[in-house]
């Protein structure tokens, strides 16, 4: 089956299409029936899932800045939904990755433990800031998303895979294994700079908990570039660790910031979009889509920043 690659501008249009809601006056929130908004949310989440998976960053990092900028929902409920989207998407993908030995439970356990503890701190900090003034969170989210966009521009999507020497902490934690490489042969993987990598997950946990973002955008470079794990294993283990590190989602849930009516269409949209996106992956120009998604990150980051300033 052959698909003709769609024009990048057409793809960009599709990605931004549901966000024409931005042009709608704010009174529309109260006058439009709820089902219209929920349908728009479902469509937006579908498009986010579709492009998130094709760009290799997952849907969570796109969901919060886009939905909080262009929909009438308070940012607290969007962040609560964002954490459950990240959790649901990773739970769906992880069993396959574990059975293929691509995701490593040995590696994910320490990573997820560090991220879990600090995601609680991040979630508390985010809700406290939002209680002072939601514009603080919106502005900080804008700066963070622009930073993530710049970070993604600077990080190479792949690298030469090598076998670093196991450090002492990695040896103690048993952080090594093997996986099926692209060549079809079984290759070993090991971990080095384990302590530095784990310190990095403190920041990832804080940011993910504070803004309700999925952490794939940071997990993969940390596991791959800092800890020296091959990209395939890094992507799969990142998924597994997101599925484990659920405490921040509980903080939002206990505070009452998780609305089932928003979580359900968001999660269903992102998951079905990711499913179709992963099937389309071999036929679409992923580098173009990655650049385009980075562009959307910058746009939504600036929009969040402007909202933070009350503009």
């Amino acid at each position: 089956m052959h698909f003709r690659s769609p024009h990048p501008l057409l793809l960009l249009g599709v990605l931004l299409l549901p966000h024409t809601a931005w042009a709608v006056p704010s009174s529309a929130s109260a006058t439009w029936p709820a089902w219209v908004w929920l349908l728009l949310l479902l469509l937006t989440a579908f498009v986010i899932g579709l492009f998130g998976v094709m760009a290799g960053i997952g849907g969570g990092v796109l969901f919060v800045p886009l939905v909080s900028s262009f929909f009438p929902f308070h940012i607290d409920y969007v962040r609560g939904a964002g954490l459950f989207i990240a959790l649901g998407s990773s739970l769906a993908a992880t069993p396959f990755l574990l059975r293929q030995n691509l995701a490593s439970l040995k590696l994910a356990m320490p990573v997820a433990l560090v991220a879990s503890v600090f995601s609680i701190v991040g979630a508390q900090l985010g809700l406290w800031l939002s209680g002072l003034d939601p514009r603080y969170v919106q502005g900080a989210l804008g700066v963070t998303i622009i930073g993530i966009g710049a970070f993604m521009l600077g990080v190479p999507p792949n690298r030469q895979e090598n076998l670093p020497e196991l450090d002492s902490l990695a040896k103690r934690l048993g952080l090594f294994g093997h996986y099926r490489a692209d060549s079809g042969e079984l290759a070993d993987w090991t971990v080095f700079r384990t302590a530095k990598g784990l310190v990095g997950f403190i920041v990832v946990g804080l940011v993910a908990g504070m803004f309700g973002l999925g952490a794939g955008w940071a997990n993969v470079p940390l596991i791959n570039l800092v800890m020296g794990v091959p990209l395939k294993v890094a992507v799969a283990t990142s998924n597994l660790s997101i599925s484990i590190a659920s405490p921040a989602a509980w903080v939002y849930l206990n505070q009452g910031a998780v609305l089932p009516a928003l979580v359900a269409p968001s999660m269903l949209g992102v998951m079905s979009g990711s499913l179709i996106g992963s099937r389309l992956l071999p036929y679409v120009p992923t580098s173009v889509i990655r650049k385009m998604v980075i562009g959307v990150l910058f746009l939504s980051g600036f929009r969040s920043l402007l909202k933070g300033f009350g503009w």
Binding site: L91, N101, L262, L268
Partner: protein
Amino acid sequence: MVTSTPSTPIDEHQEYATVLTWGNRLGLLLLVLGFVSYVTGLLPGTLPLNELPQLWSLPLPEFLAQSQAPQGWNWLTVAGNGDGLAMMGILTLGCITVVSYSFLVVRFLRTRETLRLWMALGEIAVTVVAALGWGL
């Protein structure tokens, strides 16, 4: 470096994947059933659908005061409503880590992997504290 070891799924991966698969299926099933029955009106809503647009833009304290919506585990009391049923799906997804890690604890006790046992217990403790809202 290439090894000749066969890549059959590791036992603990297999067991963990099975728990995730079934937990995820159950959670999503409840989520979809609840949401569909909520928007179609098959089941009543704790937060009536037509009132949502007046509520979802409110800051959290005002939202809770106006809607009288349950928080956290109190959603269990309205599990028979459409949005309550959807919330049961969300709670199920949130509980999967504790259930799957409990299997790991049993495994690590058997294999006497002390360090990993403590890590598993640590993750369960952090998740339970967050889930019960103790001190948070």
